[in-house]
Symmetry: C2
Subunit: 313 residues, 2 copies
């Protein structure tokens, strides 16, 4: 587990996975290493370092194992990776991740369209992964990242009961954490408060992170709501890369730089240094020349009255 | 007073004032009229229609009186205007506004730099305006729009006690409403909750609207916080025009289109039709060709599971 007694909110940086797998270009491994080092150096404690999928499907992610090794060499960094199936889990476990996240669509039409699997087939996969972990890699954590939780572009409305039922199923299967993701940027703060409250009521300490997209500009508003109801891990990506950017100018993921500013301004310690975080963009820009990066703080800077959160402030 | 029993949150559209006075070009009066009609037609109940200042200073606002007359011709529209001094107040009252807003810097260095007036001089002006209203225009409302409330680019930190003291002074002088404005985009949700709570505790029903800028991307996050502590009027501008945009791509004001989506998704009725609101951008684009407009909803559209808020939802 993390040793994060000196922070209030854990930011899980998903740029190296969610960001880099969404762009066509492949960032060279050496620049990814430098970028990950810079992100960790800025104070980020958890980084989703890549995706263990077929390199034919996502050549951008072919170096996931190398990056896990690099991440493990950085002191204090918690290294996670995305894993869609047993084969990926085996590879990730062997590479030495601290945690894997398995994406699970609550919407079955989305699951079928996205990974061509029914819920029954997905459950089978999760069972095998948990069994493998339990027998051979007992110290590695498994997170179920429930997607299409706040609505789905195919199914439309996703009943909240379906979300909670899926969360309970995952907890019963033995995952350590269930996170909720707004895959398509539909979430609103009222819904966020309600669903994360129900999640905690249903699965207790297995209730996990919030993953919001900024497709409709509502990302940070949803973060405020999630924090109010006790969520302590928030996903974000540097420069907002990845997610599902719908339109030019619309970032996909919420922007780590703006999130750190929000949280620290609110008196919530993240452990992240904004200046060093903004400086880390340089590696991303070198690695993905011409790729648009988002965020207000890199341009506007912090306010003149800004100060970092203090303990018990 | 407004008759707004059928909405939960009043959006005060400030684009025709805050937006148009911030751009160099002057939008032709006829197009302003069409734009204001389209905004009102989309369901906006309150529009800040212009600024009663010297046309030498702000030629963009020279047609304020004509636009007030136009606004008054639109059924159900509450017509407001910005007024910096007694002379402007006289003109606005005679033009037939429902309400004026007088901007009052809590930071005295900001007041001196912005309008070359000490607090004592500002108070003198407010007293004269209230006296004029009381004797000759008793039905017109006066709002004090406190600025630099959440921090100041000149003074830095602005003590919250100074904000509350200023609010109480304004209430004692007889203004009907005291709003709080984040002039430079420094506000955070924790501070927003604290200050609006203290404002209501100090001046009761005189506590007024929230005016946030999106300079650091925190605008809608601050709206969520303001609503939680009972604020029911939120300022915004179509396309985010105006405010203090710091950097390219950074809107100044919060974007009305995205705000309506946020509120309606949360189950809070605004009375605004998103499709008609987005269509109103056409007039703004015609009136200010080439001026960048912001907002996610005009590009991304509403979610497939979106529905407007219902009473007691």
């Amino acid at each position: 587990m993390h040793n994060n007694n000196d922070i209030d909110i854990l930011i899980s940086e998903v740029g190296p996975r969610d960001g880099l797998q969404s762009v066509k270009a492949t960032m060279p491994t050496e620049l990814k290493r430098q970028w990950i080092s810079a992100l960790a150096g800025a104070g980020l404690r958890e980084i989703e370092i890549g995706s263990f999928v077929s390199p034919k499907l996502l050549p951008q992610m072919a170096d996931a194992a190398q990056l896990v090794a690099h991440g493990r060499s950085l002191p204090g960094l918690f290294v996670t990776a995305l894993v869609p199936n047993l084969r990926g889990a085996q590879a990730a476990f062997e590479a030495g991740v601290h945690k894997i996240t398995m994406p699970i669509s609550v919407s079955e039409p989305h699951s079928l369209s996205n990974i061509r699997k029914t819920h029954a087939q997905v459950f089978e996969e999760v069972r095998s992964v948990v069994a493998l972990r339990n027998t051979q890699f007992p110290h590695i954590q498994i997170e179920a990242g429930l997607s299409t939780v706040f609505g789905c572009t195919i199914q439309g409305e996703v009943p909240e009961d379906d979300v909670i039922r899926m969360a309970v199923t995952m907890a019963e299967m033995g995952v350590d954490e269930v996170g909720l993701a707004d895959t398509v940027g539909y979430a609103n703060p009222t819904q966020v408060r309600r669903l994360f409250t129900r999640l905690r009521d249903s699965v207790g300490t297995v209730a996990g992170s919030a993953h919001f997209h900024n497709t409709r500009g509502q990302g940070l508003a949803n973060v405020v709501a999630a924090i109010e109801v006790g969520v302590t891990t928030i996903d974000a990506s540097q420069g907002g890369i990845g997610g599902c950017p719908y339109a030019p100018g619309a970032s996909g993921n919420i922007v780590t730089e703006d999130l750190v500013y929000l949280l620290e301004s609110m008196g919530l310690r993240t452990g992240v240094d904004i200046e060093r975080l903004v400086a880390a963009r340089e590696w991303l820009q070198r690695g993905l020349p011409g790729e648009p990066l988002y965020g207000f703080i890199p341009d506007a800077g912090v306010g003149k009255n800004f100060h970092y959160a203090k303990k018990d402030a």
